[in-house]
């Protein structure tokens, strides 16, 4: 089995698909943390909210309605959260932030349960992406290829914005030293708000994209939280490159671990996390330095 080229192609695509999903989630979280030094544990709940919104909207407007509107809905929710909770807790220190956002997770789980019920929801893959595509000798679901392509597109767009535009330069300045950036006349508060909302929208997008592949359940946000945190800790807090590296490492270790070393699979990623923390406490590609 392992000498078959098709096996490696298939599992590599599986790994890439998982990596890109995690990338969409972790990039928002990591930039929010890097820029605002704010620990948002409820990021997974925003992802779940995105998936539920996508599932509901898909019933009315079709898949693409959910795909485009769910991230906007999550961004709107993010804006509400920002003005009610996040802004006032910005300087409250990590402990208060962790407690508040951790509490938000439970509120979110029960809120989704009240609104959408306990039973898992599923939505269909859009008809354009139904079926499989023959690729290097394997048949691979087109929708999964779409997830990979979407992740790469978002990565390209973010790289472009962060490295080539004025807003990107301001964000990078804010991550490096927010007080100095403020002294130079950058409205750091407004930039924080912008980044937070975009991060939320990306989490919502991840939820909308994941909904047809996974089932939409109230605890999906909680399930994805730990992988996302592992990704940003391995990659290094606050950096785009770190989020990419962390997602790829997690995706490949998880996928190939599951098929090649099934007995150790659950331990593998945590062992790697521990190794990174011991040798590179800042993560592999941290934002500063």
């Amino acid at each position: 089995m392992t000498t078959d080229l098709g096996f490696w192609v298939l599992q590599t695509l599986n790994a890439l698909q998982l990596s890109m999903l995690l990338f969409l989630l972790s990039v928002g979280l990591t930039v929010i943390f890097g820029l605002m030094h704010f620990v948002n544990l409820a990021h997974g709940s925003l992802y779940a909210f995105g998936a539920y919104m996508a599932a509901s909207l898909a019933g009315v407007l079709g898949y693409w309605g959910g795909f485009f509107l769910a991230p906007l809905a999550v961004a709107a929710l993010g804006a509400v959260l920002y003005f009610t909770l996040i802004r006032s807790q910005r300087r409250a220190g990590p402990m208060a932030q962790v407690l508040i956002t951790f509490g938000l997770i439970f509120v979110a789980v029960d809120a989704t349960r009240l609104i959408w019920g306990d039973l898992p929801i599923g939505i269909a893959v859009p008809s354009v992406f139904e079926g499989q595509l023959a690729l290097l000798g394997v048949e691979y679901p087109i929708y999964r290829l779409f997830i990979i392509a979407l992740g790469l597109a978002v990565l390209a767009a973010l790289t472009l914005v962060l490295t080539r535009t004025q807003v990107g330069a301001m964000i990078r300045a804010g991550v490096d030293n927010d007080q100095m950036a403020a002294c130079l006349g950058i409205n750091v508060e407004r930039m924080f708000f912008l980044v937070f909302v975009v991060g939320c929208a990306l989490a919502g997008l991840a939820g909308a994209v994941a909904a047809p592949v996974l089932s939409v359940t109230p605890d999906m946000g909680l399930q994805i939280l730990i992988p996302t945190l592992i990704v940003i800790v391995i990659g290094g807090l606050g950096s785009l490159k770190g989020a990419v590296a962390g997602s790829l490492i997690f995706g490949f270790v998880q996928t190939f671990g599951a098929v090649l070393l099934p007995t150790f699979n659950s331990v593998l990623i945590y062992a790697l996390l521990a190794a990174v923390l011991v040798t590179r406490p800042e993560g592999l590609l941290p934002a500063k330095g």
Binding site: Q11, P120, G122, A124, Y140, P141, R144, P212, V213, A258
Partner: protein
């Protein structure tokens, strides 16, 4: 002298029994179900159907039933605390419920020690009617091995010689698959590979599906439930595997409760379960109609557990049971024909003995429906280390 004493005692017992029947008896039922948490929908189905069962069968029993509800939150410590409350504070005569096998394991000793009869309305772990069996615990739902074992021989008979199995890596997953593979290999089949994805940590089954595809199997046999079942069935279909590698499994995979969320991906999947809402018998027709009327939903296998639990309780009361001790003695003796078919309790283990229905999920006029392919005869589970002591209080 001795005989007169015995006769007097018998007379006394008779008169108490008769006075019990003469007055309207009040039976206090403690319902221990998850009303919140991941299994809340299951708890609701059981609760609704239990109430329906009491309405349907309980009116002419001469007894009134009072229900005390407690939420076990699917957490073993919470379940244990609520059990103690029901037994000590509410002083219930009988307990009904328990969805999670973990909760059942946690409350087993308390229920057994207090001598309170418990009707298990879902939890399927083999131990509860195996090595940990109790004269006070009667299971009216199913056991993990029971729903999977008959499929082993049936699939070999259908010409499936080689299977690949996939199930989550926890006790129920192992018990379901092991029961199937034992029967499958005994009937001459071969298991060519197995995968055990981490339970509730695996969202993407793609990596495992690739292995199944490469294994050279004739078919894949799986067990998943709830959200994982939906993800699995959809992903299996998205890889286009259904055509070349038919999907079989434990019937929870395509439960009527959530098959709609799987959509067309579930079409053609063949599984076995102790109940599907499309079973063709008068008892089931009456049950489905009454449940739909009451709740607007189609009854699931969980609902039928609640319905039959109520019926078993009523039958025990009709047989003269009035309190904890007499209910515990009467419950394992009940037998009736319900929506699932002919049911009885195996006296060796207090587990239910029931037919298993093989069904295919097919597209019907109103969405997906279950087409029953075969009904496999009821057989009692092996005793599995259960030494049933007499019920002593």
């Amino acid at each position: 002298m001795k005989t007169t004493f015995k006769a007097a005692l018998a007379g006394l017992a008779m008169s108490t029994a008769m006075s019990g029947a003469a007055f309207a008896e009040d039976i206090k039922v403690g319902m221990l179900l998850p009303y919140s948490g991941v299994y809340a929908a299951l708890g609701q189905d059981i609760d609704d159907a239990f109430a329906l069962g009491l309405e349907t069968f309980g009116t002419d029993s001469g007894a009134t039933f009072e229900i005390v509800r407690e939420d076990d939150e699917v957490k073993p410590p919470v379940g244990l605390a609520k059990t103690k409350k029901l037994i000590l504070q509410d002083e219930v005569d009988v307990m009904v419920g328990v969805v999670s096998s973990g909760v059942l394991g946690a409350i087993r000793d308390t229920v057994d020690g207090a001598g309170v009869p418990l009707i298990v309305a879902n939890a399927g772990n083999d131990e509860a009617t195996g090595e940990a069996c109790s004269p006070f615990i009667t299971r009216i739902s199913f056991s993990n091995q029971q729903v999977n074992r008959p499929m082993g021989k049936w699939m070999v008979d259908q010409g499936v010689k080689k299977v690949f199995t996939i199930a989550p890596d926890y006790a129920a997953g192992r018990q379901m698959i092991d029961a199937f593979t034992t029967a499958f290999t005994a009937a001459g089949g071969e298991v060519v590979g197995q995968e055990w994805p981490a339970f509730q940590k695996t969202q993407d089954f793609g990596p495992f599906l690739a292995n199944a595809k490469a294994s050279g199997a004739d078919a894949v046999y799986v067990f998943f439930a709830g959200g994982e079942a939906i993800s699995f069935v959809k992903q299996y279909d998205s890889f286009g595997m259904k055509a070349e590698l038919p999907l079989y499994g434990s019937g929870f995979l395509t439960s009527a409760l959530y098959v709609e969320a799987q959509g067309p991906a579930a079409e053609g999947v063949i599984t076995a379960l102790h109940y599907v809402p499309t079973l063709d018998n008068p008892e089931n027709a009456a049950f489905v109609a009454a449940f739909k009327e009451k709740t607007g939903r189609i009854p699931s296998e969980y609902a039928v557990h609640g319905y039959d639990s109520a019926r078993a309780l009523v039958e025990a009361v009709k047989a003269g049971a009035t309190d904890r001790a007499t209910l515990a003695a009467a419950l394992p003796k009940v037998s009736f024909t319900g929506p699932r078919g002919e049911l009885r309790i195996d006296p060796a283990t207090n587990n239910i003995v029931q037919p298993i229905h093989v069904y295919e999920t097919v597209a019907g006029a109103e969405g997906l429906t279950q087409k029953v392919l075969a009904t496999l005869l009821a057989e009692a589970d092996p005793v599995n280390g259960c030494a049933m002591p007499a019920a002593v209080n």
